[in-house]
C-alpha cells in the first residue's frame, strides 16, 4: 500500500481512546434497556387491562408511566434544566431529589399543552435558585383524585378542584395537597440545574364500574393548625394515611379507604384496639370524585 496511506492508517489507529469510553457505552446500553422496559410495560398493560378490580390500582399506575400520549410529549417537556429522572410510581407513590437544608418551593407554574397540563415546582434555597431538587415525595391517590403537592396558580387549572398546604410539625417538610376534578393520568419528572419537579397531567376516561363509592376511615374535621398535625401523628400507624380538606374548609386525617363498609369498620376497630388510636374515628361513604364532607366531633 502507498506509504502515505499507511501513515494515515497508523495515525488513525493511534487516535487516543479516552478512559470514559467504557462508561459511556454502558450508559447507552442502560438507556436502551430502559427504553425496552417501557415498551414492554406498554404491551403488557394492554394485555391485562380490565382483568380484575383488585389489580386496578396497579394497572392505573403502569398505564400512567407508559401512556403512549406521554411518549410523544417527552420531546417537548417544559422543564428548563437537565432531566434527572422520570419517577416510577409504585402504588401511586414516588419520590426523588436529594435531602437539603432550608429549602422551599418558591413558586409554582402551570403550563398548558393541548389537553395536557404541566405543574412545575421550582425549588429555592436561601433565596437562590437551587441546582438540584431537594428531597420530595409525590403520591397520587383516589377518592377524591389527588396529589399531595400545592396552590393559587394551580387553582387556575381546569382540572384542579382545590390546592392547599398541609401543616407539618416538622420544619423540614413542605407539603401540599391538590384535588383533581376528574380522573387524570400523570407523569412526574425531576430536573436539575435548575431544580424543578414537573408534574404532567391529562384527563383520562374511567369506566363506570371503577367509579364505585368507597368507605373511608377518618377523623372529625378540625381547623387548620397544630391539632391537625397531632392527629396525623397519632394515625401514622395507618398504611394509607393522608390529610384532606373537607367541603366546609375543615381538615381531617384519613386512615384509608375500603371497598365495603364492613372492611372499613373492621379497620377502624383494628386501629382503636390494636394500635391504640384514641382519636374519635368515623366511617364515611364517599362517591367517586366526591369531596369529603365535614364531620364534627361530639
Amino acid at each position: 500500500m502507498d506509504k502515505k496511506l499507511d501513515d494515515y492508517k497508523q495515525a488513525y489507529h493511534d487516535i487516543e481512546i479516552p478512559e470514559e469510553l467504557a462508561a459511556v457505552t454502558e450508559q447507552a446500553i442502560e438507556r436502551g434497556k430502559l427504553h425496552r422496559k417501557r415498551a414492554k410495560a406498554r404491551t403488557s398493560w394492554v394485555k391485562h387491562a380490565g382483568v380484575s378490580a383488585a389489580a386496578v390500582f396497579v394497572l392505573f399506575t403502569v398505564s400512567v408511566n407508559t401512556m403512549p400520549a406521554f411518549a410523544s410529549a417527552l420531546e417537548n417537556v417544559p422543564g428548563l434544566g437537565k432531566l434527572v429522572k422520570i419517577l416510577q410510581f409504585n402504588k401511586g407513590s414516588a419520590g426523588g431529589g436529594t435531602p437539603q437544608d432550608a429549602v422551599d418551593v418558591s413558586f409554582i407554574t402551570v403550563q398548558k399543552q393541548g389537553d395536557q397540563e404541566s405543574i412545575i415546582l421550582n425549588f429555592t434555597q436561601d433565596n437562590e435558585v437551587q441546582q438540584n431538587a431537594s428531597s420530595f415525595h409525590v403520591s397520587f391517590t383516589e377518592y377524591p383524585n389527588s396529589a399531595v403537592k400545592d396552590f393559587e396558580t394551580l387553582k387556575q387549572s381546569p382540572y384542579i378542584e382545590d390546592a392547599y398546604e398541609i401543616i407539618s410539625l416538622d420544619d423540614s417538610l413542605v407539603r401540599f395537597h391538590v384535588t383533581f376534578k376528574e380522573a387524570i393520568a400523570y407523569e412526574v419528572k425531576e430536573y436539575k440545574e435548575p431544580a424543578q419537579v414537573v408534574i404532567t397531567i391529562s384527563p383520562v376516561e374511567v369506566s363506570p364500574e371503577k367509579q364505585q363509592p368507597v368507605y373511608a376511615v377518618r377523623t372529625a374535621s378540625v381547623p387548620y393548625g397544630e391539632t391537625l398535625g397531632a392527629m396525623e401523628e397519632s394515625l401514622l400507624v395507618a398504611d394509607n394515611m393522608r390529610v384532606l380538606k373537607d367541603k366546609q374548609g375543615g381538615y381531617f386525617v384519613e386512615a384509608g379507604y375500603y371497598r365495603t363498609e364492613a372492611e372499613a369498620q373492621e379497620k377502624m376497630k383494628q386501629l382503636k384496639h390494636e394500635f391504640g388510636v384514641v382519636e374519635p374515628l368515623f366511617v364515611e361513604k364517599r362517591e367517586y370524585l366526591e369531596v369529603p364532607g365535614g364531620i364534627v366531633a361530639r
Binding site: 502515505k4 501513515d7 494515515y8 495515525a11 488513525y12 489507529h13 487516535i15 469510553l21 457505552t25 447507552a28
Partner: protein, 172 residues
C-alpha cells in the same frame, strides 16, 4: 463465541451478548466518530447515540453476519447527524477545533488535515476502505450507494490526497 453467534443472540434479545459485541466494537466506533468531529466530547456523544440506537433496533437486524456493517452504518449516520446539528448551532473555526484536548500527535494532525480536504462522503469511504479495511461491497451497503459510485469516490478521494494510485489496488 464469534461475532455472528453473538449477534444472533443479541438479535433475539440477549443483552449480555449485545454488551460483548459493543465492547469489541466501541473503540472502532470512537475512532470513526473522532475522524468526523476531532474532539473527545463530541466523539463520546456520537458513540453513546450509536450504541443506544443499535440497542433499541438490534431486533430488527435480519442477518447476524451483517452486524458489523449495520453498526458501522448507524455510527456513520449518527456522526453525520451530529455534524449537521452542530452546524445549525455554531460554526467552529479552525483554531478552535479539538482545542479542548491535549495536543494530538503530529501524525494525527496530518491525518486530519488530509481528510479535511475531502467532503463527508469521500472521507467516510476512504476511512472505511483503508483504515477499517472494509470491503467495497460493504461500504456500498453502509452508504446505500451503488458499488460503482464507491469505486469512483475512492478514485477521486485518493487523487485529492495525492496518494499514488498506480500499484495500490485494482478498482476494476
Amino acid at each position: 463465541m464469534n461475532q455472528t453467534e453473538l449477534a444472533q443472540r443479541a438479535i433475539s434479545g440477549d443483552e449480555d451478548s449485545f454488551t460483548l459485541l459493543i465492547q469489541e466494537n466501541r473503540e472502532k466506533i470512537y475512532r470513526m466518530a473522532f475522524t468526523y468531529v476531532r474532539n473527545k466530547e463530541d466523539s463520546l456523544e456520537i458513540v453513546q447515540e450509536t450504541v443506544y440506537r443499535a440497542f433499541i433496533s438490534v431486533h430488527k437486524l435480519k442477518q447476524p453476519q451483517y452486524f458489523q456493517t449495520w453498526l458501522t452504518k448507524i455510527a456513520v449516520n449518527c456522526a453525520l447527524d451530529h455534524i449537521r446539528k452542530a452546524k445549525k448551532v455554531v460554526y467552529m473555526d479552525k483554531e478552535h477545533e479539538g482545542s479542548y484536548e491535549q495536543k494530538p500527535r503530529e501524525d494525527v494532525i496530518d491525518l486530519h488535515d488530509a481528510l479535511g480536504q475531502l467532503d463527508e462522503k469521500s472521507r467516510t469511504v476512504i476511512m472505511l476502505r483503508y483504515f477499517e479495511d472494509m470491503p467495497i461491497k460493504d461500504i456500498a451497503d453502509v452508504l446505500d450507494i451503488p458499488l460503482s459510485s464507491v469505486k469512483s469516490i475512492i478514485y477521486r478521494g485518493l487523487e485529492k490526497l495525492k496518494v499514488n494510485i498506480g500499484e495500490r489496488e485494482s478498482l476494476g
